[in-house]
Subunit: 179 residues, 2 copies
Amino acid sequence: MATDELMTRALDALGDDGPLSAEAIHRLADLADLPETMTIADVAALLGISAHTLRYYERAGLVEVARDGQGHRVYDAETVRRLVFLTRMRLSGMPMRDLQHYISLVDAGGHTVPERLDVLVEHRDTIRRRIRELTLSLTAVEYKIATYGGSTGPDVQDLGTTDRTALPDEPVRRALPAE
Amino acid sequence: MATDELMTRALDALGDDGPLSAEAIHRLADLADLPETMTIADVAALLGISAHTLRYYERAGLVEVARDGQGHRVYDAETVRRLVFLTRMRLSGMPMRDLQHYISLVDAGGHTVPERLDVLVEHRDTIRRRIRELTLSLTAVEYKIATYGGSTGPDVQDLGTTDRTALPDEPVRRALPAE
DNA sequence: GCTTGCGTTCGAGCGCGCTCGAACGCATAG
DNA sequence: CTATGCGTTCGAGCGCGCTCGAACGCAAGC
């Protein structure tokens, strides 16, 4: 995904185990001091996505972008802020169609705020669910690594002779490694 | 994804906030009392994926499946255990090609155990990274919900009049909601 | 003996989110 | 005056992981 790079930057900026506060999130893109207008190349660099993708988002109706005398796109700060939001949502796995729905609500006016909140809350729950799923999978993988015999484990040679592609039928009862 | 259903069952089986122990993982599919042989329909039901997908996995070289006199697939317990593993890995986001690599290592014999562990460890780190990414996104979404004004928040009407598609430029300094 | 239900193979199609190429325009630099 | 560099539009293609349809076969049940 084109947005992988952005997430890498975001995580790097935060450090691996910071407090993960809302302030940290807010700092990710300096929304406060955006230039008045930006070119497509500027925006692409800011968001870490390609100019192609930005045009694609526009085609998809997620943003409207003004043009200058040469027909070149001119992104104002408001539009860039919207794109920051959209990119965040994409990063967290929200599909294009949901984003299109959300944006249609935004464009429909203030009376759609409750419905927008519904969308956000639903997406929040989706993210939470996905985190739980991944945590479950992580535990399974860690367990398999542990029973294969890690750097400290003594039973590599035992398991290596049979093809243990599933978790062992009779698991060794011991604690998972701390890390 | 066809495997969504399986994950749903897995999570339901665990409860939402259980200890998430290795034992819990191990219980997900009763690897200990698998029947000696199963039909494609049996395996599909067990794994929560379609027969189509099972044939697809076979075509992709992930498993070899014996046939009976009628040419029907006969899955033995070993193969099913491998498929349980493969399905788990798919659920956690490992791409088909990595699975194909891993399986080629398994089929190459016991001397590839270290390399298999490398693959598993790398995948473990990928899962961990993804969890961190999602946690970051989750915080952002929760923040946005909070500043939009939740069920307890008083500032919906303020924010509703402007199209706040990005996080606000001047964030309200207050704690995120507990839940 | 025909229906039904399950299985088979092969290959095409799909949904998603990009990603890219072609063909072109304008403007500044050398 | 041309070359470069950045932009434009349009539409096709791609990578992934399925997903499905077509056309068929066997075997048990009514």
